[in-house]
Symmetry: C2
Subunit: 546 residues, 2 copies
């Protein structure tokens, strides 16, 4: 009797199967990707979120390998956590491996993890799995999708992809391999849903070139281009444009410099000698001779772009004739911060260029027509949309139905859902236990809903600490002291806080001789009522009775 092939998408937050996918057959398993998610705006104080693989820990001995499809944070950022729990060799293309190595070195885990370099076109065998890596275009070079041959059939995993006919590195997605898979028969296709609600075809990276040309041609002074540190292709395009307009290129920011260094060393970035100059050299040149490239496209407070916008960058200031280009889109949730940064840059006299004002950024993910093309190329028996929120998966399923995939052959599932294949049939099972694993400081998974609710309450109305000294007979030994933070501006609220002290005194008087616990509770409750009546706010109140 044939064994079951089991797939479980695991995720950090709302996107499904993006950060991690678990593949199991018999006593062998694979992990695909090891990424993190950034918290949403109301996840107060959280640094990042990792896939909830806790239910898989009893299967850790089954895992034969961890495969990373490309070098983005949402596919690599949890590597130190995952490689720490699952003791299996890593497989990645040269650039992806280079970027993962930096993370492992930072976590002082480099010596403990076996790293293997693979290339698009390679095939490796891990237990019963034969894994073929095929090249896909995306907003970072050297991304791959996977063909995973299993005893139950062939699974195709798109990775993050688009069909770019004119990519910056001249390396299109591997159509022939996809067609070849179709010829062999594909049990299931797992495909990137990020842009499932975008009609048409995602523009090629090539549209950036004329946009950059226009910016450099018209810029009266320096051009500062902000983009993601991983967008090596964009750095290439900026370098090309700089060369065309006789400007030098300076890179600023640790991650961008580090990534470019790795990409250059591995020949993913091809820049003529002397084009890239150190920033302090660039700062001594005529403004019209300079392009500066940096990170900070998301309005992050500590980024160079934001420091320039607020006039607090140490190394150099924003000039009136500077042109700042946001070669990026705001990540959902960051819109306000990005727009605020743009407004501040304009306020300081800079010119600011961003999409939709000019086409200085394109998405790295397939739109609807590309998603349909992938389905037509691969001709899968079953279809599992992944890499997107539930709404994207549902729309991707609708797109698949449009091109003839039967509704019964599509599985739209949430993270943790077990999908089994047996005798060529797909069965959607239950969800394994799981939720959010918040990382806050050095704590992993120790912050849950109750702590989050306390943070929300503190953020909403602040805190009041009451220091209450009682004498032997239970009367006040001294005037009660009130300390507030985040509640009211103390200097303007003396009268109201005086009233609060009177309220405390009256309450203690009324309950003289009661147990300290009772006094404490009565005082807190009287103060809560008083504060609400006076301010319509509900600060958190701590009363210390001694």
């Amino acid at each position: 009797m044939s064994q079951t092939l089991r797939l479980i998408p695991i995720g950090g937050l709302g996107e499904i199967g993006k950060n991690m996918l678990y593949v199991e057959h018999g006593n062998d398993a694979l992990i695909v990707d090891a990424g993190l998610m950034f918290p949403e705006n109301d996840m107060l104080g959280i640094d990042y979120i990792i896939p909830d693989y806790r239910s898989l820990l009893d299967k850790k001995h089954l895992v034969r390998g961890i495969i990373i499809t490309h070098g983005h944070e949402d596919h690599t950022g949890a590597i130190k956590h995952i490689a720490n729990e699952f003791d299996a060799p890593l497989y990645a293309t040269p650039l992806t491996r280079g970027l993962v190595e930096v993370k492992l070195r930072d976590a002082k885990m480099h010596a403990d993890v076996t790293l293997n370099t693979i290339h698009a076109g390679d095939k490796i065998n891990l237990g019963p799995f034969g894994i073929e890596f095929f090249h896909v275009c995306h907003s970072i070079p050297d991304g791959v999708g996977l063909g995973i041959s299993t005893p139950a059939g062939l699974i195709v995993h798109s990775g993050d992809f688009k069909f770019d006919h004119t990519p910056v590195d001249g390396w299109p997605t591997d159509y022939s391999k996809l067609a070849e898979f179709a010829g062999r028969g594909v049990l299931a296709l797992l495909s990137d849903s990020t842009n499932a609600d975008q009609a048409g075809w995602t523009p090629s990276e090539a549209v950036i070139d004329p946009a950059f040309d226009a910016v450099l041609r018209e810029a009266p002074g320096r051009v500062i281009i902000a983009t993601f540190a991983s967008l090596i292709a964009r750095i290439q395009q900026a370098a090309n444009a700089a060369a065309r307009y006789d400007r030098k290129l300076a890179l600023v920011g640790t991650s961008m410099i580090e990534n470019s260094r790795i990409a250059q060393k591995l020949s993913y970035l091809d820049v003529p000698d002397g084009l890239i100059v150190p920033i302090d050299e660039a700062l001594r040149m005529k403004p019209k001779q300079v392009v500066i490239m940096t990170t900070g496209t998301q309005g992050e407070p500590s980024s160079i772009v934001n420091r320039l916008a607020e006039g607090r960058n140490r190394q150099f200031d924003l000039h009136e004739l500077d042109t700042v280009v946001f070669s990026s889109h705001p990540i959902p949730g960051n819109e306000e911060m990005v727009h605020r940064t743009i407004n501040k840059l304009l306020q300081r006299g800079a010119r600011v260029i961003y999409d939709p004002i000019a086409p200085v950024h394109v998405s790295g993910h397939a739109s609807q027509e590309e998603q349909k093309l992938l389905i037509h190329l691969v001709k899968p028996k079953h279809f599992i949309p992944i890499h997107g929120e539930l709404r994207h998966l549902h729309q991707h399923a609708a797109n698949a139905r449009e091109v003839g995939v039967s509704p019964d052959s599509i599985a739209v599932v949430e993270n943790g859902t077990v999908i089994d294949f047996k005798d060529g049939e797909m069965h959607v099972g239950d969800r394994i236990p799981g939720g959010y694993v918040f990382v806050d400081g050095s704590g992993v998974g120790d912050i849950g809903p109750s702590v989050m609710r306390e943070r929300e309450a503190l953020a909403e109305n602040g805190v009041v600490v009451v220091d209450l000294r009682l004498n032997g007979s239970g009367a006040l030994a001294s005037t009660p002291e009130l300390t507030t933070k985040g509640f009211v501006f103390v200097r303007d609220s003396e009268e109201m806080l005086g009233g609060a002290r009177a309220q405390v005194q009256a309450t203690v008087l009324k309950h003289t001789g009661a147990e300290p616990e009772v006094v404490k509770e009565k005082v807190s409750s009287a103060l809560a009522d008083y504060f609400y009546a006076e301010t319509k706010r509900r600060p958190m109140i701590f009363t210390v009775v001694s």
Copy 2:
């Protein structure tokens, strides 16, 4: 010698001149609009933000009238604050007046404010100002723009507008009046910049009709349409579609019912008898006979849509065959909450339709080609983009330059900037003092940056209160008590908190006999170091020594 005409855009937050505009000539002044802004995600605990008119209070005796261009919150929501400070009669069209009256009644100010009804096409005189109201299309009916004749020249104010050739109420923007203004000579045009970065022409409200038809035709059960309570035109369109598909329409939510009642009474909503039914009647009908219309398009936690998404709506539940339509776009900053709500609705089995999946919403603001048309129609001598963030104003200025407005005749300014007109020339002056006026509970303007920073710190890492009892000789009289909120999950952190108590004991021992203030400071600082070492978090620490 001629007198100066002065304009000062006043705003609550990042958008310029949207919430309030101050117009002054000699000893007479006008206020245009009295709106509020909603706080950004990192403005913790703030309810809303009102225009900072504090510097104008010494001119309050000059104000001859307060004119409201249309009934949206960002033009009406601060009326109770502004009408309280500036004792002048209000002027608004019937629907706008109806909506403002509700606010004044809620604030128990109805008896104190003089309300005057005006109509598009009317002209009134207030001191030296002759004000002509002209109809503009927008996403609420009965909106007007203003032609303000002053001794210094004619000012045209667009209000919030679009050029819709097929608006739901059949009432296009008043092109002839705009052309007539041009014939008389326009000193300055103030124009809506919201969509300045959107190419082309904003689609007509008419595109919604076939989209609603498709939804109602294909819906296997109830259709629940969420939209803004002020979007009377959308309620009309839903009613029309319901009638076409033999469904009844039920309205849910106080503000939507109240607004519809006012709109119906004033004939801005034309619905056949018997089409609108109470919700409890609708709930007894067959699902395919029902359209429910409600608010909650922004994922607000307490809205009906979000309660349905989370399965905690009291009056009725979501059914598997329900179709939920978001006839709206997320307001910037709300994207995460909206998408989370959509995902939860899908999770519960509903079908969800939203733009861009189907064209079930269009903007109420002019895009680039419409903005250019307005300039061509009005032929202003000077151009002042308003109603947008600085980035929109800059782009609107670029659009104006494209159609031949001289750069010297354009003023891109921030809120509080004085713009003077004298002898036909425009002079941009300094900014009057001002900033954000946060409303939090009953406090207006009492929360500033320092309190916000405290709230941020509390939100980030929570709070720890240490209760320290010393005996006469300065040694600990009892084990120190630690209370935490929003810092760690206490049940899982007993060991770490035990270590913290030991840290406190060691610190007190080391400083036995020192002043209580010194002990307090040393304990707080030792704990801060300990917590950071253990958790990489920095909670706010309050030490109470007694």
